[in-house]
């Protein structure tokens, strides 16, 4: 148990935009308690928030698993949604398959994945159509 590594787990509820962001908000609080530099907290929080939102609007909800070690924070967001057929295409700025309703709520600008890339030090996307998506974000502390 006690290996000096912190592990946190959050459920991400499907279709609930009002609860979306709770996981990244919780992680922010924890990083604050650790005294991590504000700009690094911001990087981790934005990247995680975008992944969390994607799991809600595209992935049908999922889980977030967070590992905090001395040197880095790793966030794994896993869903069992439709998956991404063409990851390279999905990574392009402005590309989005979000519905009109989602767009009306101010989401679906197609900037989520590009932002994750921009704010993380390492980003890995594993996805299989029909099975689901796992996004791994690493931010060095």
């Amino acid at each position: 148990m006690s290996d000096g590594i912190i592990r946190l787990k959050f459920d991400i509820l499907p279709n609930d935009m009002s609860a979306a962001g709770e996981a990244s908000s919780g992680v922010k609080k924890v990083l604050n308690q650790l005294g991590v530099e504000p700009q690094k907290i911001k990087k981790a929080a934005i990247a995680m928030y975008e992944a969390e939102i994607n799991a809600v609007i595209h992935g049908g909800g999922g889980i977030a698993e967070v590992v905090i070690d001395k040197e880095y924070i790793e966030v794994k967001i896993r869903d069992e949604g439709p998956g991404i057929a063409d990851i390279e295409l999905a990574m392009q700025e402005g590309y989005s398959t979000a519905s009109d309703e989602i767009r009306e709520m101010g989401f679906g600008a197609g900037m989520g994945l590009p932002n994750m890339k921009r704010y993380s030090d390492k980003l890995v996307i594993e996805s299989e159509v029909g099975k689901g998506t796992t996004v791994t974000i690493v931010v060095n502390l």
């Binding site: 148990m1 006690s2 000096g4 590594i5 912190i6 946190l8 962001g21 990244s24 908000s25 922010k28 609080k29 924890v30 604050n32 308690q33 650790l34 005294g35 504000p38 700009q39 907290i41 911001k42 929080a45 934005i46 928030y49 905090i68 001395k70 101010g106 932002n115």
Partner: protein, 442 residues
Amino acid sequence: MFDVETYFHSVRLDEERCKGCTNCIKRCPTEAIRVRKGKARIIDERCIDCGECIRVCPYHAKKAITDPCDIISLYKYKVVIPAPSIYGQFKNAASRNHILTALKAIGFDEVYEVARAAEIVTNATKELISASASIKPYISSACPAVVRLIQVRFPSLIDNIIKLESPMEVAARIVKKRIEAELNIPQEDIGVFFISPCAAKATSVKAPYETDKSFVDGVISIKDIFLKVLNGLGRVKRPEELEQAGLDGIRWANSGGESLALGTDKFLAVDGIHNVITILEEIENDRIEDVDFIEALACTGGCLGGPLTVENVYVAKTRLKKFIDQARDKDFSKHGQGGDDALMWTGNVEYKPVMKLDKDFTKAMKKLEILETINKDLPGLDCGACGAPSCRALAEDIVRGSAIETDCIFKLREKVRELAVQMMELETKMPPVLDCERKKGK
């Protein structure tokens, strides 16, 4: 790292009145209050003086340190600078001139509207926003409670804060310098008194972050001076011509007023400390687009809803409306004295890492790990009976060494039950001399 002075704050507890209930601990936006030994305790370094606890306390056990009205007698030349929110407090006032005349009659030599200085700040803000596109969105520093909230909870937004002096500070500086020059009175003989709607403003005079020393010499709450002004109002037959501010300035009392004065559509105005937190989270997540300016006020309704005001915020809004209309008709010109001094802060706000579990990162990690383990084991009811606002906060207190696990009544009950079981077990055990079973050699 921080001395006591750094942590001055105005909100205090009235021990006599506190019943040790949990209303305040639940509402505090920085989890700065605990109930210990039947009384609420404020963790000084976390308090941002938003006044939320003053508002929610059913026993009026939370107060704010402000100056008594008779502080003015300490100075030879006395100037009063009322916050715009004062205009919403009086039912039968015919005009702002009536209120200002009655206020002055209490014993002041001069009155200068903070609303006038607000217009000067508005002009400076306009320039700042149009000059730089690198910071987006700018966040107003008009509410000191919000600035302090950003310092402790949203450090990554410190750069977004508009580092312009507050209307109160600008007003105080303008009057002091003018009186010194025109009337040849040394600054130390001039007392400038701010009439305040809140504790946060009192703190920004006693412990300013924008400059070394405030030009304000005393802060009197609207509550404390209210009756004096009210009594005087009835005696005002012909009011003096004291109004100087236009509608742009007096609207600052309302949520949205500062934004409207800027004349841009690209603003977002939020009021109420918990709403402010939601919006600051959104800004941190890069979710606020097409907005240049954020007006964030800790009090619901803006300063008219300040914890040290007298009138209900919604009633006050209606009253203020009358004066806004009057100001519109009069059409005060925008020029006026004293707008030329630079308004930029000379001091700055720094990140206050008061939530940090330990100075040393490795130790902080260790503590966090224990915190999470303890938290998992707590019932998760956030009942408040332990005196902490949530189970997680109790876990945090335990790790910090200021609480123990059995402060949780459920944990205590578990322990008692365990003890009871052990006692029952012991009770069945006979001393060897009486134990027949054992004699039989079993």
